[in-house]
C-alpha cells in the first residue's frame, strides 16, 4: 500500500511569471479607458470611415492627458521613464484592442526616441511636444520598389540644390540652425539653413502616408563607399511641394499601403536627423527600438479566448479536432508571449541576443497566421451568437486579413531566419547549461 501523498508545499519561488498587481492595475486602467472611449466594434484607425481615425486621434490625446501615451519617455521630454515591463503591458493591451493609438505608436515608440538621441535642440523642440500630445502622425520612408529587405540598396536621392537660393525656405525659427562644420561632406548647396538638397525618388509600402504630417525619410546623399554609407535621414513635412502619395489598394484595407513620390522636394540641413551620410547607424537604432515590435500574440490570445463565448452553445458542436487546434493555438500564443518576455528581460540587462529576438519574431508571426486560420475556421463552422458574436466574426476576419502580412512587414521572416542562423552558427559553442544559445552579434536586418 502506498502512503497517501503529501500535499505540495513550496518555499518562495526563484521564478516569477506573474507581473503582479501593478501590471494588473495598469491593464485595468487601460481596459477601462478603451471600454469608455473606443467603440466596441472598432477595428483600427485605417478604414474607409474617417470616424475611426478620429477615434484614434481622440484616444491618443486622452492617453496623453492621462500620462499614458509617452510614459516610457524620459522625464525631461515629458514622460516618466516607465519600465520595459510597463511598456510591455501597454503594447499588449493596445494591440489586443486593434491599436486604438492608430499610427501614433510609431511616433511614440521610435520616432520620438530617435529624435531625442540624434535631434538638434530645435528638432526636439519642434517634434517631440506634438508627438507627446498625440497630435501628429508620422510615416516611415524606408522601403522602395528595389529595396525591401535589402534596404541599403535604396535609390531615392538627395542631390545638392545647386540652383537653390533659399527663396523657398520657410521663415527662420529659434534657435538658429546648427553649424557642424561638415559642409564638405554629403554635398548640398548652402541656404539660410545650411546646405540644401532636392529629393527625387519613390518609396513604397508606406503605411499612413495619406494621413501623415511628417515622413521619417531615408535617402542617399552619396554614392561613394559601401552602400550603407552615404545615407541620410531627413525629417520631411508631407505637405512639402513635390510630394505625391498614391494609395495602393490591398486586402488589408485602405491606408495600409501607399506609394510616395518625391519630385524635387527641397530639404535643408535643418531637416537632417543626425549626421549627413550617417543615416544607416540611425536606422539600426530604429530597428533596435522594434526588437520586440508589435505584441501580435496579445490579439491572437484575446480572440482565441473569446471564441467560445462568441459561439455560445455552438462551441460544443465544433469538430473535436478544431477545438484541439484551438487549444494548440493557445499554447502557441503563450509560447510567443514568453519568448517576447525573454527578449524584454534581456533588454533590461542589456543582453539582447539576435537568437532571442529573431526566434520571437519568427514564432509570433507564424502564430499570427496559424491562429487566423483556426479562428476563421471556427467562425465559419458555426453561427456566432448575437451582436457580440457578429463583432467577434468581423474582428477575426480583420485579423486574418492583417495576419497575411505579418511574415512580410517590419523585417520578413526570411530576414529573421538569416539573423537567427547567423547568430546560431557564429556562436563559439554550446554553453554548459546545454542551451545552444549564441552570444555573437549579427547585423540587424532591414525593415520594410
Amino acid at each position: 500500500m502506498l502512503t497517501v501523498l503529501a500535499p505540495l508545499h513550496y518555499g518562495l519561488a526563484s521564478m516569477e511569471y506573474d507581473l503582479g498587481p501593478e501590471a494588473a492595475a495598469l491593464r485595468g486602467r487601460l481596459r477601462a479607458l478603451v471600454r469608455e472611449h473606443v467603440p466596441a466594434d472598432y477595428l483600427g484607425a485605417f478604414t474607409a470611415d474617417p470616424a475611426d481615425l478620429a477615434v484614434a486621434q481622440d484616444f491618443c490625446r486622452l492617453l496623453a492627458d492621462e500620462g499614458l501615451l509617452c510614459m516610457a519617455w524620459p522625464e525631461e521630454f515629458g514622460g516618466r521613464g516607465a519600465s520595459l515591463w510597463e511598456q510591455t503591458v501597454v503594447r499588449e493591451e493596445m494591440w489586443a484592442r486593434h491599436e486604438p493609438r492608430g499610427a501614433q505608436y510609431m511616433g511614440v515608440n521610435w520616432v520620438g526616441p530617435t529624435i531625442m538621441r540624434h535631434g538638434t535642440p530645435e528638432q526636439r523642440a519642434q517634434h517631440l511636444p506634438p508627438i507627446a500630445r498625440g497630435e501628429v502622425i508620422w510615416c516611415q520612408g524606408f522601403s522602395e520598389p528595389g529595396a525591401g529587405s535589402d534596404l541599403a540598396s535604396l535609390r531615392t536621392a538627395a542631390r545638392p540644390d545647386e540652383n537653390g537660393d533659399g527663396a523657398d525656405d520657410p521663415p527662420p525659427r529659434d534657435p538658429p540652425p546648427r553649424d557642424n562644420g561638415e559642409a564638405s561632406r554629403g554635398g548640398g548647396s548652402t541656404s539660410r539653413y545650411g546646405r540644401a538638397w532636392r529629393i527625387h525618388g519613390q518609396k513604397i509600402w508606406t503605411s499612413y502616408a495619406t494621413m501623415a504630417q511628417w515622413c521619417f525619410l531615408l535617402a542617399r546623399t552619396s554614392t561613394s563607399g559601401r552602400k550603407q554609407q552615404g545615407l541620410t535621414i531627413f525629417l520631411v513635412p508631407m505637405d512639402a511641394p513635390g510630394i505625391e502619395v498614391r494609395p495602393i489598394a490591398c486586402m488589408m484595407g485602405p491606408h495600409h499601403l501607399n506609394e510616395v513620390f518625391f519630385d524635387g522636394v527641397r530639404v535643408t540641413e535643418r531637416d537632417v536627423l543626425g549626421e549627413v551620410d550617417g543615416g544607416w547607424a540611425v536606422v539600426q537604432e530604429v530597428l533596435a527600438f522594434e526588437r520586440v515590435g508589435i505584441a501580435r500574440y496579445a490579439r491572437c490570445e484575446r480572440l482565441l479566448q473569446e471564441a467560445p463565448e462568441a459561439l455560445g452553445d455552438a462551441w460544443e458542436e465544433l469538430p473535436a479536432e478544431l477545438r484541439g487546434r484551438w487549444a494548440r493555438m493557445l499554447v502557441h500564443a503563450r509560447r510567443a508571449r514568453l519568448l517576447a518576455y525573454r527578449v524584454v528581460s534581456r533588454q533590461g540587462t542589456g543582453q539582447v541576443s539576435p537568437v532571442d529576438s529573431a526566434a520571437y519574431r519568427i514564432a509570433v508571426t507564424r502564430l499570427d497566421q496559424e491562429s487566423a486560420d483556426v479562428l476563421m475556421e471556427i467562425v465559419t463552422a458555426a453561427e456566432t451568437a448575437g451582436d457580440d458574436g457578429a463583432r467577434f466574426r468581423r474582428a477575426v476576419e480583420d485579423h486574418a486579413r492583417y495576419a497575411v502580412a505579418s511574415t512580410v512587414s517590419s523585417g520578413s521572416i526570411e530576414m529573421q531566419r538569416i539573423l537567427l542562423s547567423r547568430a546560431l552558427l557564429a556562436a563559439s559553442g554550446a554553453p554548459s547549461s546545454g542551451q545552444p544559445r549564441a552570444a555573437a552579434p549579427a547585423k540587424a536586418g532591414a525593415a520594410s
Binding site: L2, T3, V4, L5, A6, Y10, G11, L12, A13, S14, M15, E16, Y17, D18, L19, G20, P21, E22, A23, A24, L26, G28, A82, S83, L84, W85, E301, Q305, E306, E309, G324, R325, W326, A327, R328, L330, V331, A333, R334, R335, R337, L338, Y341, S345, D356, A358, A359, I362, A363, E414, R417, L420, S421, L424, L425, S432, S433, G434, Q435, P436
Partner: protein, 353 residues
C-alpha cells in the same frame, strides 16, 4: 540546497518583471550533474545499458547517489524542484537510460520508488528490468500501484519500455475534477492532480535536454561536414531548417520554465500548464528530430553518431503517456471553454500569468 528567498516582483515601475531563470543553486546543480554524468560515461551510458540491460541501474544510480539526487525533495521546496528539473535536463542531454524524472517524482512516504504518469488504456513506462516499486497516476488524478511486465523485446527496439499492470489504490478517487482543486475527503484528488503536473513537467525537462543536445550536435555537424566545397552550414536551405528547429526548442524551454513555476507555486491550473508544455514539447520533438536527422544525412542513422541514440531514446518521452494528438485532445477537453490562463479570457490572470 539553500532556499531562495527572492520571488516577488520588485515592482513594475521599478523595472521588476518576470523572472525566467532557475535559481543559481539549481542551475549550478544542473551543470554539476551534466559533468558527473559525462564522467560516468556520457553518451556511452545508453550504449552500455543497451548491450547489458541488467547493468543499467548500476551504471547510473551511483552517480545520482553521489550527486544527492535522491535527497532532493521536489515536492518540498521550489529550489529543489528547480534542481530536479535541471537534473532531468542534464539526463536528457546524455540520454541517460534510467527513469530519473520518474524517480524524482516518487511519492512521499517511502511506499514507492518511482511515479509514472500513465494512460490507463495502455499503461507503459521505460522501467524494464529495474527493481523498483512503482506508483502510477492517470491524467484524471486516479492513482494506482503499478507492476512492470517482462520486456517483450530487446532494449534496442523497446528503449526499455514495458507494459504495466495497474491496481487502483484504496482511497483513490474515481475521477479528479479538472484543475485538481478538489478531491475526496483526504485530499487525494488535489494530490493526484499535483502528481500529474509534476510527472509530466519533469518528463518534459528531460525531453528538453534531448532537444538541446540534438541541436548542438547538428550545429557542429553542419559546420564541419563539407559538400560542394563548403560546409553545409553555408547553404541557406540548411540554415533555415536549423532556425525552424531552434524556434521550436526555444519555445519549449520557455514553456518548461512557466510550467515548472506553475507547479512550484501550486497554481490551480498546473495540470493545464503541464499539458500545454507537453503538447509543445512533443510537437517540437517532431520538428527537431526530423530536421536534425535530415541535416545529419545518412550519418544520423548510424550508431556511431550520438543523434541516433538520442532519437531512439526520445521515443518513450514523446509517446508516453500520450502522443501528440491524444495530448492535444486531453488539453482541449480540460480547457473546455475557459482556455489557458493568460492575459485575456475567463481564465485570465491580469498581471501576466
Amino acid at each position: 540546497m539553500t532556499t531562495v528567498t527572492q520571488g516577488a516582483v520588485d515592482g513594475l515601475a521599478a523595472g521588476g518583471g518576470v523572472l525566467m531563470e532557475l535559481s543559481d543553486e539549481a542551475a549550478e546543480f544542473g551543470r554539476t550533474a551534466l559533468r558527473a554524468l559525462e564522467a560516468a560515461g556520457g553518451d556511452e551510458l545508453a550504449q552500455t545499458a543497451e548491450r547489458e540491460p541488467a547493468r543499467r541501474a548500476e551504471l547510473v544510480v551511483p552517480v545520482l547517489d553521489e550527486l544527492g539526487a535522491w535527497d532532493l525533495d521536489p515536492r518540498g521546496s521550489a529550489d529543489e524542484l528547480e534542481a530536479a528539473a535541471a537534473l532531468c535536463r542534464a539526463a536528457g542531454w546524455w540520454a541517460v537510460p534510467y527513469p530519473v524524472a520518474e524517480r524524482l517524482c516518487r511519492p512521499v512516504g517511502g511506499g514507492a520508488d518511482a511515479l509514472v504518469v500513465v494512460a490507463p488504456a495502455a499503461p507503459a513506462a521505460p522501467v524494464a528490468g529495474l527493481d523498483l516499486r512503482l506508483a502510477a497516476v492517470a491524467l484524471d488524478g486516479r492513482r494506482y500501484a503499478a507492476t512492470a511486465r517482462e520486456p517483450d523485446g530487446p532494449a534496442r527496439k523497446s528503449a526499455f519500455v514495458v507494459s504495466l499492470d495497474l491496481a487502483p489504490l484504496a482511497g483513490a478517487i474515481a475521477g479528479a475534477p479538472a484543475g485538481g482543486d478538489a478531491g475526496d475527503e483526504d485530499g487525494a484528488g488535489a494530490d493526484g492532480a499535483g502528481d500529474v503536473a509534476l510527472g509530466m513537467v519533469l518528463g518534459c525537462w528531460t525531453l528538453l535536454g534531448m532537444l538541446d543536445r540534438a541541436m548542438v550536435l547538428t550545429r557542429t555537424y553542419i559546420l564541419e561536414r563539407e559538400q560542394f566545397g563548403q560546409p553545409l552550414a553555408r547553404f541557406q536551405g540548411v540554415q533555415f531548417q536549423l532556425t525552424d528547429a531552434e524556434v521550436e526548442r526555444a519555445g519549449v524551454a520557455e514553456l518548461a520554465g512557466y510550467a515548472l513555476w506553475s507547479v512550484e507555486t501550486g497554481r490551480p491550473e498546473a495540470v493545464d500548464d503541464a499539458l500545454a508544455l507537453r503538447l509543445a514539447a512533443v510537437e517540437a520533438a517532431e520538428t527537431v528530430f526530423r530536421v536534425t536527422h535530415q541535416l545529419h544525412g545518412a550519418m544520423g542513422f548510424c550508431d556511431e553518431t550520438t543523434l541516433s541514440w538520442l532519437s531512439r531514446y526520445s521515443q518513450p518521452l514523446r509517446r508516453l503517456p500520450l502522443g501528440r494528438s491524444a495530448t492535444q485532445d486531453a488539453l482541449a477537453s480540460r480547457l473546455g471553454r475557459r482556455g489557458l490562463a493568460g492575459i485575456f479570457g475567463p481564465n485570465a490572470v491580469m498581471g501576466a500569468g
